[in-house]
Point group: D2
Chain length 337, copies 4
């Protein structure tokens, strides 16, 4: 039985804790730590049957019965806690991004190189049934040589402007998932990035120094072209689609809905909107993500999304940012640490 | 060049005349006859370039240059004109039904047996791209042995009560197409019929002695079960679907729409309603129907829907009527002439 | 915390035990009883953390800490154990059917009338996201007055002939779910039944005295017509669809799939087959079923499928059997106990 | 009755001639001219009832009974014949592109400015039922302010390398339709273009100096971002889709198929491939295009795609070519004549 400690008990920390408690055989949550403990966290921990609650995550790192930690704290703490956890010999699941600064990600990787702990980054979409079906079909050669990848990724509503100010910008905050998805679906690295964008949803986002709409074109090492389109606001809900086109065909996925019900009436033939946001859409993916992390730790397998995956997604994000600012194609090799 | 005469220039007569003029190579309309000639018919004939207009169809039958006639007059005249046309040596396309009375249909068949004219009955759905795709897949064995056939056939609006009174009832007027479709799709004869029904759309239809909603179950000679559901009023338009289930799979067709456009908005994901009614939905089928009639005449092939097909559909309709009235299964062998 | 005992640890007993353990807040499995205890049951119980394992269910009935029992034993024991459990003051969740014999169901109902325990019957499809969406739309009046209901219910493979011999026949074993669904979706009682059927899948099923393919037409108290089609074998998987047509439109549901992936290639545009069978398709429905049972017990609400629902489905099944055997419409009022 | 002359009786010339003969009321083909007359052209003209056949198009220009000409000859002759036709006072329908050279297009426009003839360019997709549905929805404000446009445009097979050498390159030959579509669907001009591409289908295309796969990103004057993806070879057929996303929702269209038949079997749920190529997919659009041209001439309306539309599409194509060659964003204002 792998005992885990959760560091950071916000929304995503609770999601992971609940997944481990309910769906993961062979693991249990031994402790949760949060610098801002409150009644909500306490009652949640009680409900989950978590024995220990701390306000200092070092108590988790110091508990020899705990084999792995989930780093779910704020982004600016990810790399530092990662390094401490690796030094403490704990396996690490770290929410994305590891850091906005490549040097600090590199420091984590160097620490990892000296240890034998497992390190997994929270790219939850890799475990989604739809994206995985595309990945598996491409990997199995069912569409032949991949030539064009298209990802649509649109949120139902922008986050608060306060959040946007510390988010690192749309490319590091939102598109980062799509950058990882491009690498995952095609099994190839990004070599060039061109990003176009604009403030089409909310002027306040522009005033905060960010954009809310973007189209990013990438060239991959295997020759394929990839294009991502993002919006911070789709009124019909969370729009998460992908298609990969290749020499033998195309595979495409559409959005999940709460039911397959279709109502034919005087005003048309009406199906349901996509599931509203990431917790609904990726609920099962989050559970599967925990399962695979525990499986990697317990059976000494590679993690399905490692520190290098975490690094590359941030690199691509930085390249996109530079491309947008300089209005030119940026080669990924320009982005070094 | 086959010259044809059109007898009856109502809506369906004009559809056929236009099809021949525009889409059928190797045929042209030489004359049109209608007992109630009016300006609408005259200007339509002029537009189509039809040389002769008569108020007496016997002039068509007497024109030796005319090789075939299209009988598009009122139902009660179909069998009589059919017999006269056959005697005059004209090939015959006759709108459905040949007659409501089996004895009179039999008289047409006996006349046909003495002649070598082609006779085709107007079961237009046999030429529809969707129904034909089902037919072809079943005939090619792609679903294995057929076991269950389901046909949905619903009109967008009931006809006038005046029409209903002379229509022969829902089974002979509306379901007759579906009875023919069951035989066409399965390539097998009906042996037993059970019809349930009700007046759920408009009480006036009930007062006219008819029903407006029906579910008809049939057993086929090949063992398959078939079920048809009918309504005189689907608010979302003309609903024309079928599915055939068999030992190796199922084939199903859905409705045609004006475009594939789908609008995702705050109120759902909205596709278009089905094409509104039979002229829109079956426009191409009507053209193809004329093509195949002319092809059968010119190349001396069997017609794709002959007098026996016309007879069987009426027999099944009469069986359904009897089943509904007597609330029991009726064997088709009970319906003789 | 409601403590429950599971009586019968076969496939469905384990499904319910797992649902309670993982997904139901406020309940836990205190004991499991099975007359044929084996290592599989023991290791499963250990994994679930179930404290007590018995070979005699009376030990569950005698444990005062247990508030509710799940009767998941063989069908022939359901009514007897139900009565004993009610007398012991336990709330009861009973798998369908309560019994094949209406008199014995009636005995359960009489016992219930003397008690105040909750009684829920295992019609799991009522909790499925798709069927519930149809139910809710109909109940909300979104399709107006219901006029035609169509249910397609086909299994991927027939059960063993040994099972078929004790199953009570297709109408009581398989169609019973669809009979309940007709009542649930339309909110109306069945008044007349006509059943057609045949042995089209496997001759051995016929030799065992049953049929494997059926089409059942029903008239409902509200005037609507309902039609169910069943097959014991759909090569493409578990086919579970429904549509309700009414004065204001139609609502229809299609099958669930493992993913939305669609592969366009040289051989066509290929989507996934339906989820293979009931455990995959109704996994979430089973969890929701347990949730609602516990909710009814804990909060003293009516159960969503009670003993009368259990009785009516069996009555309709018996009417269908009689209709098939006598080749006539059977009024439900003919089926009394 | 408008009499038209067809200049160039290749594939597209015959399509237009047939459309006029069969589907356009108020127009007829008076003459056809082709420098390379052959038996195929003669028998086709006979079948269509076209009175005159010439090998010199000047005979058409000199026939005072002819009111309009269809320029369907090779691309390099379009602008020259356009100018001659305008000077002869004939209304002109000209296949796309008017020319690869902006100066020569400009010469046509200058000639038009001095005349009052109608000039329509052959952007046939504007008349397609699907694209038109998107256009109309966007124009009606149903998706609010457009923010992202995505067009997928893939051919089933590349043309011959000989053709590619004189085609002007993928952007002027193939994407030109999509550039026009972007302007048509959004009702806004292109301001910036970035084109990425590669030779992923056939090395011989690369050796001929062209590419076969492209992703083009554009910024529109209204702020929207547009992205087009092209391939010369989709094994599943002609892939022609579009979606427009905006502040109030999204509208999307999918491919047309020969029928709606879907076959569920052991290997999946299989729908038909898209209609194979442009003649099948756009057959009705071609007829409608002729109808609207004749309507513009006869009723003195603006043509739905005029010389400026022809010019802009070529400008965007030249900008895309420059962008691809120079690996940078090209502003449309850089492309002058």
């Amino acid at each position: 039985m792998l005992k885990v400690g959760i560091i950071g008990a916000g929304r995503i920390g609770k999601v992971h804790g609940e997944s481990i408690t309910r769906y993961v055989k062979g693991a249990q949550v031994q402790a949760v730590a949060d610098a801002f403990l409150n009644d909500g966290i306490r009652s949640w921990a009680a409900e989950m049957g978590i024995p220990h609650i701390y306000d200092d995550y070092h108590k988790i790192l110091g508990d020899p019965s705990i084999g792995a930690v989930m780093i779910c704290s704020s982004t600016d703490t990810h790399s530092q806690i990662s390094i401490e956890a690796i030094r403490a010999g704990k396996h690490v699941f770290c929410e994305k991004p590891i850091d906005h600064d490549l040097k600090r990600i590199q420091a984590v990787r160097e620490e990892l190189a000296k240890s034998d702990v497992k390190y997994q980054v929270g790219f939850n979409r890799r475990y989604d049934h739809n994206f995985r079906a595309v990945h598996d079909a491409v990997a199995a050669g069912r569409i032949g040589e991949p030539q064009i990848l298209k990802i649509t990724s649109r949120d139902p509503n922008p986050p608060s402007v306060d959040y946007i100010k510390v988010s690192g910008g749309i490319f590091l905050d939102m598109t980062i998932h799509d950058f990882d998805m491009a690498r995952y679906l095609l099994g190839s690295e990004v070599t060039e990035v061109f990003a176009a964008g604009g403030v089409l949803v909310d002027r306040a986002i522009g005033e905060a120094g960010d954009i809310d709409t973007a189209v990013i074109t990438m060239r991959m090492a295997n020759g394929a072209l990839a294009v991502i389109d993002n919006s911070r606001k789709a009124v019909y809900g969370y729009d998460q689609r992908a298609e990969v086109f290749g020499s033998k065909g195309q595979i495409a996925i559409s959005n999940d809905t709460a039911s397959s019900a279709v109502l034919s009436g005087e005003n048309g033939v009406v199906a349901e909107k996509p599931l509203y946001f990431f917790l609904e859409r990726y609920m099962q993916a989050y559970a599967e993500e925990m399962n695979e992390f525990v499986d990697a730790v317990v059976h000494n397998k590679p993690t399905p999304a490692n520190a290098d995956d975490g690094l590359q997604a941030v690199r691509i994000g930085l390249a996109a940012k530079k491309s947008y600012e300089e209005k030119r194609v940026v080669r990924l090799s320009e982005i070094q640490f």
